[in-house]
């Protein structure tokens, strides 16, 4: 290239002057020293960075710019140089004439004489104080952001915990305070019928009955909303759960599932799943009670419970001979307060299936339904399958 050629053509004296000029005008401190550590050259940037003039520095030991606690570095550096090694971009701290620390990146190379013997070293020191300062500021800023973020997370967590506590308090109050007057209303209406029924005509009796029914509905609604909110916020731990004993327990706790009122066929063996027993009981009892409820008048409910292995998962099926659900409503029925026209004739709050979905989702599973109007419904819950032995252990 042109520049190289021109330099290459310069005579040695001019060339020396040329390189000396480059060294002088460099932004980096360029210093040479003997193998004993005596400074032999000192450029302008060295004067600027270390505050010693060339006159003051040359002939002195390099230790004048090395802080007392780092002077052993020089011994190591000199040893490496004697071995002919080059030291590249070594970040350290030196000090100026006035005693200020100067952060530098050093590159130190051995200098050889014409015979190849190492006679000294050249040292290029780049002042990285500004960069280091910027880095520290950046680190500090990052730390501050991290601290601020942590503080914000803590504050929000506290707020969230506060909100949860308020919700708990609200639910508690709803459970106790809202239900008490409602119960009184139902009870007085009942007492009215029992104690003064003979003085009420047919219409009066019907009105009082309506008060009682509405009270019962509201009570069920409150109960279901509370269950739903409990399912949302309570902690869930998972264990292997056997489905068969759970179904038997549920049947024993619901009048509508008694053998005289509903035929329930359990296709054993039923799989065991990984879930939460309370949530599973809640979900399966809602499905079973629904299955027994939504049947055409005069039809005895016939419910089949079975499980299906689907790879690592198990699907629990609750199949009935009920009124069925048109396919266009299959997605909607799991939403809150969703009641289909066909179901209006039956009691219900419209929350039962929302509870099932929420509970199953909180266990990491999924729910669904297959059904057609007039052809019964087949609800399913899918959860990770557990080994039978594990479930036995888990249920202890």
């Amino acid at each position: 290239m042109a520049t190289e050629n021109r330099i290459g053509n310069l005579d040695p004296v001019v060339s020396h002057a040329h390189f000396a000029a480059i060294v002088e005008s460099s932004d980096d401190a360029i210093i040479s020293k003997t193998l004993e550590g005596i400074i032999t050259s000192w450029n302008q940037s060295a004067e600027r960075i270390f505050e010693f003039t060339a006159q003051e520095a040359i002939g002195k030991s390099i230790l004048i710019i090395i802080p007392p606690d780092r002077q052993d570095e020089e011994v190591r550096i000199l040893e490496q140089l004697r071995r002919g090694e080059r030291i590249k971009h070594y970040e350290t701290v030196r000090r100026s004439k006035s005693g200020h620390p100067v952060e530098v990146s050093l590159t130190i190379s051995p200098i050889r004489d014409a015979s190849g013997t190492i006679v000294g070293a050249s040292k290029i020191a780049r002042d990285i104080s500004a960069r280091k300062m910027a880095q520290r500021q950046l680190d500090e800023t990052q730390k501050k952001y991290a601290r601020d973020l942590e503080k914000k997370v803590d504050e929000r967590t506290a707020k969230l915990q506060g909100a949860i506590a308020e919700l708990e308090a609200f639910s508690y109050s709803v459970s106790h305070d809202l239900r008490a007057p409602l119960r009184a209303m139902e009870q007085y209406a009942q007492a009215l019928l029992e104690d003064y029924g003979d003085r009420l005509d047919e219409t009066g009796t019907r009105y009082v009955q309506r008060i009682i029914t509405s009270g019962e509905k509201l009570d069920n609604l409150i109960r279901d909303v509370l269950t739903y909110s409990r399912v949302i916020r309570s902690n869930v731990d998972f264990h292997p759960v056997e489905i068969a004993p759970l179904i038997s327990d549920i049947i024993g706790h619901h009048e509508s599932l008694e053998p005289s009122r509903a035929e329930i066929i359990i296709e054993k063996p039923l799989a065991a799943v990984l879930g939460n027993e309370v949530f599973l009981t809640q979900s399966l009892s809602n499905l079973l009670v629904n299955a027994a409820k939504f049947v055409a008048p005069g039809v005895k409910p016939r419910i089949v419970v079975r499980t299906e292995h689907l790879g690592p998962k198990a699907r629990i099926w609750v199949e009935d001979n009920g009124i069925g659900i048109a396919p266009e409503y299959h997605a909607r029925i799991f939403a809150m307060f969703e009641r289909l026209d066909a179901q209006k004739a039956y009691d219900g709050t419209g929350i039962g299936l929302a509870i099932v979905r929420k509970a199953v989702e909180r266990m990491g599973g999924s729910v669904g339904v297959e059904s057609e109007l007039g052809k019964g419904s087949r609800f399913w819950i899918e959860l990770p399958e557990a080994a039978q032995g594990e479930a036995a252990k888990g249920s202890l």
């Binding site: 508690y172 409602l182 119960r183 009184a184 009942q190 029992e194 009270g215």
Partner: protein, 154 residues
């Protein structure tokens, strides 16, 4: 002579329906009513207006509501179990809701049973008859203290 049932209940409607159901169930067991937690503690310890044990005998059974004025029902239960003379007293929680947190705390604090109030009169009658038959007839009550003052502070 056996003591009465101490009903700790602040809701006068509940008191009314409980007494009504007792009557219609044909149970004429004596019931005394404390309308807040402090009154229950006063009655059980024979303090203040309840110092006359002949008039205010130690109950055979306590029906204890949870949400009560002055002293919370669970604190009343805690106090009962902390009193050496009342540690074996039969306490049946009778409350509006079976919130898990309440059920759990009640049993941990030493409740003997946990029942949820019902609004249907025949169910309430059945519940009271069960309480009566089980706790006051079938069940062997804890032995009384020799001085018969098992409600008073020692």
């Amino acid at each position: 002579m056996r003591g009465p049932i101490l009903l700790v209940e602040d809701n006068e409607d509940d008191v009314f329906f409980l007494q009504r159901a007792m009557k219609s169930a044909g149970l004429n067991y004596p019931i005394v009513v404390a309308t807040d937690g402090q009154q229950a503690i006063d009655y059980l310890s024979g303090a203040k207006e309840f110092s006359d044990r002949a008039k205010f005998p130690v109950p055979e059974l306590v029906l204890l509501d949870i949400k009560l004025p002055k002293v919370h029902g669970l604190d009343v239960l805690k106090w009962i179990r902390s009193e050496s003379s009342l540690q074996t007293l039969v306490v049946v929680m009778l409350t509006t809701s079976h919130l898990e947190v309440d059920v759990d705390r009640a049993y941990r604090l030493g409740a003997n049973s946990f029942l949820v109030k019902t609004s249907a009169s025949e169910k309430l009658e059945r519940m009271l008859r069960s309480i009566h038959d089980y706790w006051l007839q079938l069940n062997h009550p804890p032995p009384r203290l020799p001085n018969g003052n098992n409600g008073q502070k020692q």
